[in-house]
């Protein structure tokens, strides 16, 4: 009798486990994460004009009239090398003219670093636009598992594209560089082919950590100017998209965006950077409802 009871109990436990596991695994509920909605909103107004990628463009009066946001930056801490929060904040403004969108990123940086080499790293910044409408809750841990389009401006590329004459510390343009070393080699021995650089901004896609890949067609342009301890970087791209891996920028809607900044003098490179959380990017149509957009 006792044995029958014990066998019955064992059968019950095993059955509960099998049924429970089946339901958990195959009849799962995917609840939408009660994700933290972006705290900050950056309004992108319609302004019927262009700005040129130059010093004049960086100081164009339009930037005084469109809304800007100063966003707190946090260290990147999910992939080696860790960030160090070397840049505390970045100020971002943007507008569109119905055909192109323009971003202006500004942050304090005591030194202008346009060179790369061993233990020498470039200053840089990036705009990340997820390829899904509702990305996972944060920008790093799960943020781009479903893919993101990332525009990365690097001071070293900027110097190559826009000429050395404007750079205080010219880059050794022909020196290949990588963050990765084969563990048994003192330095990288695999051949690295340097592509011809057409833009200071790399138009990339990523689908998880360590998957940054240049897009086949580079459509983002940009330029950075360093003056009096401040970087001002302009980035622009056509609103219209041509490929699935290109982030959409739908006018009249809001979408997520995140920003990152590297301070080369403090050792930022690769994953070592300062990042924002998601920011709601609201692209206003030509007719802005009176008083709708914040400043």
């Amino acid at each position: 009798m006792k044995k029958i009871v014990i066998l019955g109990l064992i059968g019950l436990v095993v059955s509960l486990f099998v049924v429970g596991s089946y339901y958990a695994l195959f009849r799962y509920r995917t609840f939408p994460p009660a994700a933290d909605q972006p705290v900050e909103t950056l309004d992108v107004l319609y302004v019927a004009r262009d700005v040129e990628l130059s010093e004049r463009g960086a100081e164009d009066p339009v930037w005084r009239h469109v809304p800007s946001k100063t966003l707190a930056l946090a260290p990147q801490v999910t992939a080696i090398p860790w960030g160090k929060a070397s840049v505390p904040e970045v100020t971002v403004a943007a507008f569109h003219n119905g055909e192109r969108i323009f971003f202006r990123l500004q942050w304090r940086d005591a030194t202008e670093n346009r060179a790369v080499g061993r233990d020498t790293f470039t200053d840089a910044c990036a705009v990340m636009l997820p390829l899904v409408e509702e990305p996972q809750p944060n920008t790093i841990m799960m943020g781009f598992l479903e893919g993101a389009n990332i525009w990365t401006w690097k001071a070293v590329r900027d110097a190559q594209v826009w000429g050395r004459e404007r750079a205080a510390s010219p880059a050794p343009a022909e020196r290949p560089y990588t963050d990765y070393y084969y563990p048994l080699e003192e330095r990288e021995v695999f051949p690295i082919v340097r592509e011809s650089v057409a833009s200071a901004v790399e138009d990339l896609i990523a689908r998880g950590v360590g998957t940054l890949t240049p897009r086949a067609h580079q459509r983002v342009q940009g330029r950075g100017l360093w003056r009096n301890g401040t970087w001002t970087v302009l980035l622009t791209r056509a609103l219209a998209t041509h490929e699935a891996e290109e982030a959409t920028l739908p006018v009249g809607k809001a979408r997520a965006v995140a920003f990152a900044v590297w301070d080369g003098a403090k050792g930022d490179r690769g994953a070592r950077k300062s990042i924002t959380g998601w920011v709601r990017l609201r692209l206003w149509p030509a007719e802005v409802p009176a008083g709708a957009a914040g400043r």
């Binding site: 064992i10 958990a24 995917t30 609840f31 994460p33 009660a34 933290d36 801490v77 860790w82």
Partner: protein, 474 residues
């Protein structure tokens, strides 16, 4: 370093009896301890299981109560506080074998004591002799880590793991005697046991002579106040923390109040030169190896490895399992064997290679524990703030129980995290060196031979520390 002193500073025999305080003794002798702690964790793990069950396969890990509490809070607490400080205190309050033990005793609170002995429900069989060691736990823990890529991102995987452990513990409790599941099967038990030898706390007999004269050893056979040691120890005689589940039954059953809970210097049990075995040696090396694999895979810059571990493709996943298993079962033990062989050769003493291998493996325990603590820092400091979110909204149903549901992701102290990791590893290395030197003297009887024999092992420990530093801080 002075013989008989930990790090040349604290006598190995130093003890501070916590149970000398009457309220501590009263507390531990009460049958409410550990029951109250277990019941709290039964509630907590019920919520965890529900979150895993409802979370399915695709909910984000950082917003799932089950994943965050188990893999961020529990794991970190286990490695950083519970094991190094409080020994197997997690086993004291672990809710997973609760159902099985309840069925065995058919009592939640009281003691089933009839005709001079504890009564148990179930078949009360003996665990097979061939499995009475850590090998099964070694294999099961390693096998569990094959699925580590799922546990932190797929709530259902955590559910299945915990449910499997509970189901297995119930089944084994009905067939086998006492805490057979905890002793020989639980994947978490083995490393807790081994690493608890480093812990600052112990349950031990106070005066062995009292026990020698004692005719009825209630601590082993039980009495009306409590159960005979559920962990099958002879509480009056055991000398290592490895298998003491800190259930405090022996404090309840001892008629002479001759059991004590002591504070002690770290690592002293690693020097107990008895019961050492290849199963425990492998456990030490596997733990060290898994710490490396986890870091490389989940916190390193190699996204491909993470994809493999997450089973993005079947071939990638099989590659991960193959590499992971080979590294832990063959490569790392073989590297250690090389250093041990060098140690034996340097010592020029005819000690069996197996003995040298097994003995010195215990010296890797402090470093292994330090590696896990450093790894845990990389989990808790960046991700700890998610805990506030899941506490308020455990099922992601939009609740805000404590007003913290929208607390933003806030990494803490990550700026100094690399330094904390390095410091942790260096402290671990220091203790490992101390233990290695003493084990050398145990293994090679001549002092000069011991000095020579220790060198290669110190080399292994140093190289391991440098490799871990390189991995951890880039």
């Amino acid at each position: 370093m002075r013989e008989g002193y930990v790090l040349g500073l604290i006598p190995e025999t130093w003890r501070f009896e916590l149970t000398q305080f009457p309220w501590v003794r009263r507390l531990l002798k009460s049958r409410w301890i550990p029951l109250a702690l277990i019941l709290f964790n039964v509630f907590l793990f019920t919520v965890i299981l529900m979150a895993g069950f409802f979370g399915g396969l695709t909910s984000p890990g950082n917003y799932n109560f089950g994943i965050m509490i188990v893999w961020i809070l529990w794991w970190v607490l286990l490695m950083m506080v519970l094991v190094p400080v409080l020994s197997r205190f997690w086993c004291t309050m672990c809710p997973l074998p609760f159902l099985g033990e309840w069925l065995q005793r058919l009592r939640l609170f009281g003691v089933r004591y009839v005709k001079g002995r504890n009564l148990y429900f179930g078949l009360n069989k003996r665990w097979p002799k061939s499995l009475s060691n850590m090998w099964l736990m070694n294999v099961l823990f390693l096998a569990t880590t094959f699925a580590s890529g799922f546990f932190t991102v797929r709530p259902a995987a955590t559910f299945v793991l915990l449910a499997a452990i509970i189901a297995l513990s119930v089944v084994l409790s009905l067939i086998y005697r006492a805490r057979t599941f905890c002793l020989y099967v639980c994947p978490v038990s083995g490393f807790q046991g081994l690493y608890s030898n480093f812990a600052l706390t112990e349950v031990r007999v106070k005066d062995p002579e009292i026990c020698a004269k004692h005719k009825t050893k209630g601590c082993v056979v039980g009495n009306e106040r409590g159960y005979g040691c559920p962990w099958l120890l002879l509480p009056y005689a055991f000398r290592r923390n490895t298998y003491c589940g800190m259930c405090f039954e022996c404090l309840k059953t001892c008629e002479y109040d001759n059991m004590a809970v002591n504070l002690r210097p770290p690592g002293v049990d690693l020097l107990v030169d008895e019961k050492r075995g290849l199963d425990e040696a492998y456990k030490a090396l596997i733990m060290l190896g898994i710490a490396v694999v986890f870091f490389v895979t989940f916190q390193g810059p190699w996204g491909t490895l993470k994809d493999w571990a997450n089973a993005a493709t079947l071939s990638g996943y099989l590659t991960f399992i193959g590499l992971h298993a080979s590294w832990n079962l063959i490569v790392l033990p073989a590297i250690f064997l090389l250093f041990v062989w060098l140690a034996r050769r340097a010592a020029r003493q005819a000690v069996p290679l197996k003995k040298v291998y097994v003995n010195f493996s215990y010296a890797t325990v402090p470093l292994g524990l330090a590696a896990w603590i450093a790894f845990s820092l990389g989990i808790i400091l960046p991700n700890g703030s998610y805990l506030l979110h899941v506490l308020s909204d455990p099922f992601a149903w939009g609740w805000d129980l404590f007003g913290t549901a929208h607390f933003p992701w806030t990494p803490v102290l990550t700026g100094i995290m690399p330094y904390l990791m390095i410091l942790t590893l260096l402290v671990g290395l220091l203790f490992s060196i101390d233990i290695a030197l003493k084990i050398a003297r145990q293994t090679f009887t001549e002092p000069e031979a011991a000095g020579r024999g220790a060198f290669p092992i110190l080399g292994f420990l140093g190289a391991t520390t440098l490799s871990l530093m390189w991995l951890f801080v880039g």
